[in-house]
Amino acid sequence: MKILTTVKKVVDVELNIHVENGAILEKGLQYVINAWDENAVEAAVQLKESHKADTTLVSMGSGDNTDIIRKCYAMGIDNAIHIDDPNLAKADSPTFARVLQKVFEAGEYDLVITGKQAQDTDAGQAGIMLAEFLDIPCVSNVIEIKVTDESHIQVSRLGDEGTEIVDLTLPAVVTVSDGINEPRLPAMRGIMMAKKKKINVMDLAGLGTSFEDVGGTDPKSEIVEFMAMEKRKGGQKFEGDPAEITAKVVDLLVNEAKVL
C-alpha cells in the first residue's frame, strides 16, 4: 500500500499573536507542524508498521520546511516531497488541493491521509477537495483506520450523532481527527538518522504544472485582513449571603445585561 500524507507548517497558536494594520506581526512567532497533520503522519507510520505500507509525505508553501519534514522522517516516514514555490505563499484551499492532485497523480497512491484541518485557517477544505478533484471517496474526521484487504479499508468517523463506520474502496482520502492517535515524539536516534535523509524539493514547474494550472491565479477565496480578537472582560464575583446575592444578580441580569 502506498500512502500519501500531507503536512502544513502553521503558526504556533499557543503564542500571543499580534496584529497590526490587518497583518500578523512576524516578530516572536514560531512555526510548527499542524497538530492534525501530525496525527495524519502518525496514522501513516502506524500503517507502515502494521501493514508494511510505503509512506510519502508532501508539504507545500513558500520557503523552507526542512525542520518539520525532518521531524516526520524521524517519526518514520519513508519519502518526503516539498513543493516550494513563492506563488504558494498566499494560495487558497482549492489551489493546494490541485497541487496535491498533481502529486497524487505522479505517485499513484492508494490512500491519502491528511489532518482534518489546519490550525491557522481552520478551513478543513484541502483534503476533501482533493478527493473531489480525483473523483475518489473521502471520509472526514476519522478516528480509526483498519485495513480490510489490499484494496479496502474500514474507517470510523466521529459524526454528530456518534461514531460512523464506513467501508472504503481504495484509492481514497481520509482526513483525521486528533482522537485517532497520540503522535509519537520521534526517538532521538530517529532524529539523528533523519538528518541524513534526502528531501525531494521542487517548485510547481518541477511538478510539471504552473500556478495558473492549479488555479492559483483565479483564487476562490482570499484573506483580506487579520483582526485581533477582543479580549474577554473579567467576570464579576459576588460573595456573601446567597439570598442577597441572588437578588443582586437577577437585578443585574434584568437591568444591566438586559438578558432577562
Binding site: 499557543e14 503564542l15 514560531q30 497520540e182 532521538m188 536516534r189 539523528m192 538518522m193
Partner: protein, 700 residues
Amino acid sequence: MSPLFMTLLLVVGLGIFARTMYQRILLLMALEPTDRFNRIKDRLKNMVVIALGQKRLVGRKKERASGIMHALIFWGFCVLLIRSITLYGEGYVHGFQLPLLGESSILGYLYIFLKDIMEGVVLIMVIWAFYRRLVVKPPRLHNTWEAYLVLGMIGVLMISDLLYDGARFNLITSYGNPGDLHFFNNPTFGQEFVWTPVTILAGNVISGFSATGMERVMGLMFWIHIITQLTFLNFLPLGKHFHVITSLPNVFLKSLDYPHEKIKLLDLEDESVWEDETLGVNHLHQLNWKQGLDLYTCTECGRCKEVCPTYVTDKPLNLHDFNDTLKAELYANADNLILRAKLAKTLTGDEEADAKTKEKIAVFKPEKALVGDVIALDTLWACTTCRACEQVCPVTIEHVPRIIAMRQGQTLMQGEYPEELNTAFKGLERNGNPWGIGYDKRADWAEGLDVKLMADHPDAEYLLWVGCAGSFDDRTQKVSKALVKILKAADVDFAILGTEEKCTGDFARRSGNEMMYQMMATENIEVLNGYSVKKIIAACPHCLNTLKHDYPQMGGHYEVVHHSDFINQLIADGKIRVNKSLAGALTYHDPCYLGRYNDIYDAPRNVLNTLSSQGLNELPRHGTESFCCGAGGGRMWMEETIGSRINVERSREIVDEKADTVAVGCPFCLTMIEDGMKELDKDEQVKTRDIAELVAEHLA
C-alpha cells in the same frame, strides 16, 4: 603445628580465592572506564570516616543499635586480622610472634587484651544478630540462608579461637604445660592470661577434659579456625558478603563533591554513537567499572528500599532486587563480557578493518535485554531520583546515575519511555516549558510588579531565575510574586530573563532525554553568558541543581543560590526584618534537590524559626532522610498508576504531625503536597506554603 597441612590449606584456600578475585577484577576491567583515582587524600578521608568509622551505620539515629552491632563485628574483624596472621605463622613456627606485637612489647599485651575482649564482643553481637533475624525480623532484612551461614561462620571463628586459647590456658596452668606451649611472659607485663579474661572463661567451660583431651581440643580448634577462615574467605566473593572485601575500596572510590556520579555529557553530534547504540546504558557492558563494583558491594541490607518513596508506596522498584538482578546478570555474562572487551580493544577506528571485529563482538550480545527483560520498564521509570537510597547506603552505592543512564538508553536509543512525557517534551521543544504554554507568556506573571528584564538592565547584580512553574503555574506564580516583594523590600538589584528564559532541562535530563536537555542548556547558557550573568537566585531546587551542577559541563559557570538561602542571608544581614508572628504549628518538608543534592538544610529552618511564634516542628522523616514528594526525576510529568500515591503518603505524615502550615521550598513539592492535602480533604486544615510566601507575609 603442621607446616605441610598448613601449606596445603593455604595453597588451596588462597589459590581458589585468588582465581575468583582475578575473574571478578577482569570483569570490572571489561566495563566502561571512569576516573576515580584523583584526590587520594579526600578519598582516604571518606574511607576512614564512612567505611572504617561505619558512619552511616552508627550515625543513623533510627537504627543506631543494629548499626553499633555491625560496627562492633566489623571492628572486631579488623582486630582479629592480626591474630589470624599469628595463627598462620603458628602453623610453621612454634610460638610465632609478630614484630612489635610480641611479648617483649606492651603493644603485644595491649593487642591480646583487645583481641580477647573483641572476640567476646563479636560473639555476643553474633548471638544478637541471630536473635534479630530469627525473632525480631526487621522488614527490610532479607532472611537468606547465606546470612545465617555467614553469621554461623563468624560465630565458629570466635568460638574456635577462644577455645583454642582456652585449651592452651588449661594445658599451661592446670596440666603443667606438657607440650611446652608458648605463652606471653614478661617480667614487667606479667603472664599472657592476666590480660585475657574471656579466654579464661572459655578455658573454664572446657576444664573437664583430661590433658590428652585438652590437647586434642586445642589442635582441633586451631584447624577448625584456619579451615573456617579460608572457607569464609572463599565464600565472600560469591554472595552479598563480598562487601567485606569491596566496601573499603567502594567507599574510597565514591564520587566527590557532587553526591553521586554526574550525568555524563553525551556527544550527540557524533554520528557513530547513534549507529553503534553507545548512548546511555542499553547493555551490560555499558555500565562503568565503578557501577560494577557498586553491584559487587551491595550488602542487601535493605536500607535503600526502606527509605525509597516508590517501594513504600508499592511500586515495583526495589533497589535491593534491582542491584541483585543486575549483579546476577553481570556474573552470568562474565565470560562473554570479558571476551567482548578484549575484542573491543582491538578496534582500530578504521571502518573496514573494524567491520569483522564488530561482527564478532555482536555475538556476545546477552540473550536478555537489559531493560525489558532484566529490569522491567515500570521499575526503571518508578524512580524519583530523590537519593534517599544513596544517603542511607552504608557502602555508598550510587543507584541514581545508573538508573538515569539506563533511562538515557531507553529514551535516546529505543524511544521507549512513558507516553505522558511526550507532552512535556513537546512543550519543551516548542515553548521551552513542559506545559507547552506560549513562550511569550513567560513573564506575564510579573506584569505590574515593576520587575526589570535583563534586556533592559543587563548589569543587575542578581539574576532571578524564575523557572517554568514560577512563570506559568498559577499557584507557583504567587511564590514568584512573594519573592519579588522580598527582593524589593531588601533593595536587591535584580532582573529576570523574561521570555529569554527556558526550562533548565532538569526533568528532560533525568528522564534520559539528553538531547532535549542539551538543547535547553545550550540556549540558556548562551543567553546567560551573553549577559555575563554571575550570580543567580533560583526559586526552584531543580533549577538550582541544574544551573549549579549540570551547566558547568557545558560552559555555564554561575554562583547559584536558592531563595531560602538568600532570604536567610537577607535576614541575617538585617536587610529585611520579619515579624515572629506566624501562628499555629509549622513544619517543613525538605525538597530532595535542596537537601540531599545540595546539602541545604539549615537555611530554610533558620528562616522559618524566625517567623514562627511556636518554633518549627520536625516531621518524622526530615533532613537527610526527608521523604520525597514524588515529583523528581521527571515523575512530575508522568502518571502515577501503580501502588498508592507518594504525595498522599507524605501529606498524611504531615497531617499526622498536626501541622497547621507546611513550608516547602520547591514548586514541585508545593504542587504535590497541596494536591495530597486535597486528596486527604485536609487542604483547609493544613496550608502548604513556600518559604518565600511566608516571609513576604511577615515582613516587618
